[in-house]
């Protein structure tokens, strides 16, 4: 019997994502990939996976997943409210986020709602056994490619697992919640800042904008004061990098994210620094945002600093239960607390 996670109830917008489909933009193929690459990387590191392994990106509300494998280790990263584990004959028990959990056949992981953000991640130790399309497992739903059948997860989907049981390892957790930073979203002017008046550029960096309801994996439309164009809202289409902020004729900014088109014909006043893209990947409708401009050298340095902080977070993982031999008393106690029956042979090194 092959190992799988079965979707017994769908969430809202859950897709398989890795770090993106790289190298095909010239064919018009968007990169897609995780909206919050930091969280996906932490989830993969917790699960013991390489950084580029595909996981499940949870959009707003996650699915219920039935374990159809001897065992599976999952890492949950994000502010779930909380996830629950449910087994036949036992009441549902909460599962902490930002750590791994060992699940057994027949148990149901109820990922549930995300609080205070729009995305969270479930990584599976060993990864998912899905077909690679153009070098990536990332779902790009507009073209119906990648991930699971090129679409968001639906009830009765069966996600095949690469491993039929969880590899022996200790459960691990983040030492501290990752700090995404606060304050204004940092941007670099360009590529078409000269298509806006000085007053328009000032509006952009001085006003407060709100994430509108039109926010998805492609981008976020903001509500707020309109930005004045200097020479129309049409350019000859050029390339769109991650975080490009285009301003169509109506004057309101649209930040383009993972599923963004590869090229476009609206002038782009600025581009979000890559360090702050995960913050926008987590932003919810109604969220207030200010923008501040920095030089490209500073944006590059901030990104390198964020990478160092990710590396420190990974080095700072803690064991989620005592190391060493089997602590039967502790196991028994934890089973009572969280309702998970751990396989001693799998839970211990």
């Amino acid at each position: 019997m092959s190992a799988a996670l079965r979707v017994v109830r769908a969430g809202l917008f859950d897709t398989i994502q890795d770090l993106g489909r790289i190298g095909h933009m010239a064919l018009g193929m968007p990169t897609a990939g995780a909206m919050d690459r930091v969280a996906l990387r932490l989830a993969n590191a917790l699960a013991g996976n390489p950084a580029g392994t595909a996981g499940i990106e949870i959009g707003v509300m996650g699915p219920d997943l039935l374990v159809e494998a001897d065992s599976v280790r999952v890492a949950l990263v994000g502010s779930l409210s909380p996830a629950l584990i449910e087994a036949e004959g036992a009441a549902p028990k909460p599962l902490e986020s930002d750590r791994t959990h060992l699940l057994k056949r027949g148990q149901i992981l109820r990922v549930g709602m995300i609080e205070g953000a729009s995305t969270a991640y479930v990584a599976v130790a060993g990864g998912l056994a899905l077909p690679v399309f153009m070098g990536s497992l990332s779902t790009y739903a507009r073209a119906g490619v990648g991930g699971f059948k090129g679409r968001k997860l639906a009830a009765d989907d069966v996600l095949p697992l690469a491993l039929d049981h969880a590899p022996p390892a200790e459960e691990r957790k983040l030492g501290a919640t990752f700090d995404y930073g606060s304050g204004p979203i940092r941007v670099v002017w360009g590529p078409q800042e000269d298509y806006f008046t000085e007053a328009g550029r000032r509006t952009f960096v001085e006003a407060e904008y709100r994430v509108s309801k039109e926010a998805d994996r492609m981008g976020i439309r903001f509500e707020g004061p309109t930005i004045e164009h200097a020479k129309g809202a049409d350019i000859i289409s050029d390339g769109i990098g991650p975080g490009a902020i285009q301003v169509p004729g109506a004057g309101l900014p649209i930040v383009l994210l993972s599923d963004r088109q590869t090229v476009g014909g609206y002038p782009k006043i600025a581009t979000v620094a890559s360090v702050d893209l995960p913050r926008l990947g987590r932003a919810q409708p109604g969220h207030a945002v200010r923008f501040t401009a920095i030089p490209v050298e500073e944006a590059e340095a901030l990104r390198r600093d964020q990478e160092a902080r990710i590396a420190r977070a990974i080095a700072g993982f803690q064991t989620a239960r005592p190391p060493g031999g089997i602590d039967l008393a502790r196991l028994y106690e934890e089973n009572l607390i969280d309702g998970v029956v751990y396989e001693p042979s799998s839970a211990s090194p």
Partner: protein, 244 residues
């Protein structure tokens, strides 16, 4: 040759060869696209991730953990200074298009009004245009096709549509396009083709290629339905639409 470098944040920049659509400028773009690909294949330009050609510019994406804008820009300058050579293929492609169903052409009347033509004159001008595919982008398989009859030039809609149907044929500025998927879009819809511009089942999922010469061929709704059924079933003989 002088180029402008435009910032696209800390993971990309755009090399702009000009601010007009011309075969010469596009040829330079495609030549630099090729030259960077060759350099990368030869182990140079460490940290360059990929390049995205457009009508008049090339976006270069890079990994700021490996390299930087300051390090890359002089290297791109050196490639350009070393001389760029162009290449390419030419195909003639026929695109059947149904202009007659109002559901397919919701903007035909407005385009006619704004260009001071009758709808039939708009259709005739679109059919009479000598089109060429310059670049693919926006989404997989979407071609930017220049050569539109100048009397049809209009700016894009000020507010893009959030959703428009797959295979819509549209115009904006001096170009036409065919939307490969249901998608958002800001161009004026004049008709619909029964062809699929992107089909995962095909060995080459993307139908059009840069350099293709294109003409539209008017079909009625019954013909549209017949060809669309073949395209959906995957039985359409695409080779009859393309001559090399």
């Amino acid at each position: 040759m002088s180029v402008r470098y435009l910032s696209c944040g800390d993971t990309a920049f755009t090399v702009e060869f000009g601010n007009e659509i011309s075969p010469g400028i596009n040829g330079q773009v495609m030549a630099l696209h090729g030259a960077i690909g060759m350099a990368k294949a030869g182990g140079e330009l460490d940290g360059v991730v990929e390049t995205v050609p457009t009508m008049r510019s090339l976006m270069v994406t890079y990994d700021p953990l490996t390299t930087s804008r300051a390090e890359l820009q002089p290297r791109i300058d050196a490639l350009i200074a070393g001389g760029l050579s162009a290449g390419g293929t030419t195909r003639q492609v026929r695109i059947p298009c149904c202009y007659d169903d109002p559901d397919f052409a919701p903007d035909l009347a407005e385009v006619a009004e704004r260009t001071k033509k009758t709808p039939e004159e708009v259709i005739a001008a679109h059919l009479g245009s000598a089109f060429k595919v310059y670049v693919l982008g926006f989404m997989p398989g979407l071609a930017y096709i220049a050569g539109l009859e100048p009397s049809l030039y209009l700016p894009r809609r000020s507010q893009p549509r959030v959703r428009l149907p797959r295979s819509s044929v549209a115009i904006a500025m001096d170009m036409t396009t065919i939307y490969p998927f249901e998608s958002p879009g800001g161009w004026h819809l004049l008709g619909r083709t029964p062809l699929l511009m992107f089909d995962q089942r095909r060995e080459q999922p993307v139908f059009l290629a840069p350099g293709d010469h294109l003409t539209f061929e008017r079909i009625d709704r019954a013909t549209y339905d017949a060809i669309a059924a073949q395209a959906e079933a995957g039985t359409l003989d695409w080779s009859t639409l393309v001559t090399t």
